[in-house]
């Protein structure tokens, strides 16, 4: 499997990552290694095997519909890179 630079750029954009040319090449090489490993796994016949989504056998881990206050308004905003007393602030993305 050989991944091209355009696919790398597309995936990087979707993940909001920025790479220099050199980094993109390095990432491309890593990607190829991962995909080769996947090719290896694909050699195994998994017809009629349900995909494993969860590592535990547990089902129906549910909550009752009860309200709990777990953090304060101030705590909620504490780690925000930009905020005011009420809101999280992000760069304006619509004019």
């Amino acid at each position: 499997m050989n991944i091209d630079q355009e696919t790398i750029r597309k995936i990087a954009h979707l993940a909001r990552l920025e790479f220099s040319e050199a980094e993109a090449t390095a990432v491309g090489n890593d990607f190829n290694k991962i995909l080769s490993w996947m090719d290896k796994l694909n050699e195994l016949n998994t017809d009629n095997v349900a995909p494993l989504i969860h590592m535990s056998e547990e089902v129906n881990v549910l909550r009752e519909d009860e309200v709990k206050v777990t953090i304060s308004h101030e705590e909620a905003l504490y780690n925000a890179p930009k905020k005011d007393s009420d809101y999280f602030r992000v760069p304006k993305f619509l004019s």
């Binding site: 969860h54 129906n60 777990t70 760069p91």
Partner: protein, 487 residues
């Protein structure tokens, strides 16, 4: 835009709806934060809602039950083995970087909703699915503000998304479907159905094709309709816009468009993710959800009678008109009140007139809920019986006694009628002198009547009523007047 009807008639619109309904649970779908509307910004949040690293979401049991109720009401197949998927995209109102939804295994599959159109035609609209997901926060783009402000109170509020097949052909059908869905969520009490406040939202997928064509046209998604009426307006506008483009030989661009309620038009939106590649994959942090037979039947047993069922029963048991029944079944509360009233009186037509008339207008006037209506069905049935027995007439009952009953001070309709001296005089012996007195007062009118001016009867009856202070039985009075005048 006003296209010629002949041109519009060449095309067949094809419409599908995606309806989001906010479930009226106390807490969010995966976190215990309150879902209360209108709280101070960023107060109903938790580390789960804010998408902090290392958090573990936990599914709200009631969300599952509400989604299943809606599925059962829409005749869906309930999926017994559920899991959630991550729909990945970056947007500031989505702190986790993905929406938690059900892509592969929706909780409700298929199903249908029957709608009734204005001309009485019925149509079945097939559903594709109903699935559970979380709502996003709210972005605010204020004028003069360099930043976008984000409030995460709404993030994680539970939603069900009801997706129809492209079965709708007109905006009237979409209108009827929205009304029906809203009625259903309100009957089930799973959502308040308030489109203006955004607790019910609708996106419409619209395309047009030449009549007889085999393949659907390119579809356009229209968003942001905040009332059922606006869903209809947006669809009408979009159909014409697309036909006009096709008539000019242009192609339709598959896109998302925003409806503008001010001028009734739609305009293109910037897409959320230009590549529209959501890279769905199963959400590993939420354990699978299995629905047992027992759980399903427990949920089924808590379901109220639904509008369709009540409609059929009212038709059969009470032989009322389609119009009356549709008004009476509009809300669950009214249908139940009426049904209870009919267990106490056999005069179903009178019962329906009282509920649709005096009761409904009183509630509308004071914007009251039927649960807060002071007159019990037992008392109202006594009032109906009092009219049926001839002791009082309808106008006295509605104008004099009904307002007294609203005080709900324990007095019966009969007691009020006696206290206010409203018991009707139907003894012709008592009425005869009054009738003769009235006729003696208007000798010229009597002559005119005898010469053929039969319309004067109303005047005579009115005068007798006046002289008897409204207590004369109109039927007996008319009979007496006829007796004297025809001699």
């Amino acid at each position: 835009m006003a296209l010629d009807k002949a041109i519009l008639d060449k095309y067949q619109p094809v419409i599908g709806l995606e309806v989001h309904a906010q479930l009226s649970t106390q807490s969010k779908i995966f976190a215990p934060d309150s879902t209360e509307f209108g709280s101070m910004p960023n107060t109903n949040v938790s580390v789960i809602t804010l998408g902090h690293p290392g958090i573990l979401p936990r599914l709200n049991k009631k969300v599952v039950e509400y989604a299943i109720k809606m599925g059962l009401a829409c005749h869906c197949e309930i999926n017994r083995v559920n899991f959630f998927d991550r729909k990945n995209y970056f947007y500031p109102d989505l702190p986790k970087g993905f929406q938690t939804t059900q892509d592969k295994a929706p909780i409700c599959k298929g199903g249908y909703v029957n709608i009734k159109l204005k001309d009485g035609v019925e149509k079945t609209i097939t559903l594709n699915r109903i699935h559970m997901e979380d709502d996003a926060g709210k972005n605010m783009h204020l004028a003069g503000e360099v930043d976008t402000l984000v409030d995460y109170n709404r993030a994680g509020v539970p939603l069900i998304e009801i997706v129809t097949e492209p079965d709708l052909r007109t905006s009237d059908e979409a209108f009827a479907l929205m009304n029906e869905l809203r009625k259903l969520v309100r009957y089930l009490e799973v959502c308040d159905g308030n489109m203006e406040e955004g607790s019910m939202r609708c996106d419409a997928n619209i395309s047009v094709m030449l009549k007889g064509a085999k393949e659907y046209g390119k579809k356009v998604e229209v968003k942001n309709m905040n009332s059922v009426r606006n869903v209809q307006r947006a669809i009408d506008f979009e159909i014409e816009r697309q036909i006009e483009l096709l008539e000019k030989g242009e192609t339709i661009f598959s896109e998302s468009r925003q409806f503008d309620a001010e001028n009734g038009t739609t305009h293109g939106m910037r897409t959320k993710e230009e590549l529209n590649d959501y890279r769905y994959f199963p959400e590993p942090d939420l354990q699978p959800l299995h629905i047992s037979d027992k759980w399903l039947s427990d949920i089924r047993s808590t379901m109220p009678a639904l509008p369709e069922e009540l409609y059929a029963r009212f038709h059969k048991d009470y032989s009322l008109s389609d119009y009356d029944i549709s008004v009476l079944t509009d809300t669950k509360e009214m249908a139940l009140y009426f049904d209870e009233l009919c267990s106490k009186t056999k005069n179903y037509k009178a019962a329906s007139n009282w509920v649709m008339g005096s009761v409904k207008s009183y509630l509308n006037e004071l914007t009251l809920h039927l649960n807060d209506f002071p007159i019990t069905t037992a008392v109202l049935s006594e009032l109906i019986a009092l009219i049926d027995s001839g002791k009082i007439n309808y106008s006295v009952a509605s104008q004099k006694i009904f307002p007294e009953l609203l005080k709900a001070d324990g007095r019966s309709p009969l007691k009020i009628a006696e206290e206010l001296n409203l018991i009707q005089e139907s003894d012709s012996g008592q009425l005869e002198p009054i009738v003769q007195e009235v006729l003696a007062k208007y000798p010229e009118k009597v002559t005119e009547y005898k010469n053929g001016k039969k319309g004067l009867m109303g005047l005579f009856v009115g005068e007798v009523m006046k002289a008897s202070k409204g207590k004369a039985d109109p039927k007996v009075t008319t009979a007496l007047l006829n007796k004297f005048l025809d001699n």
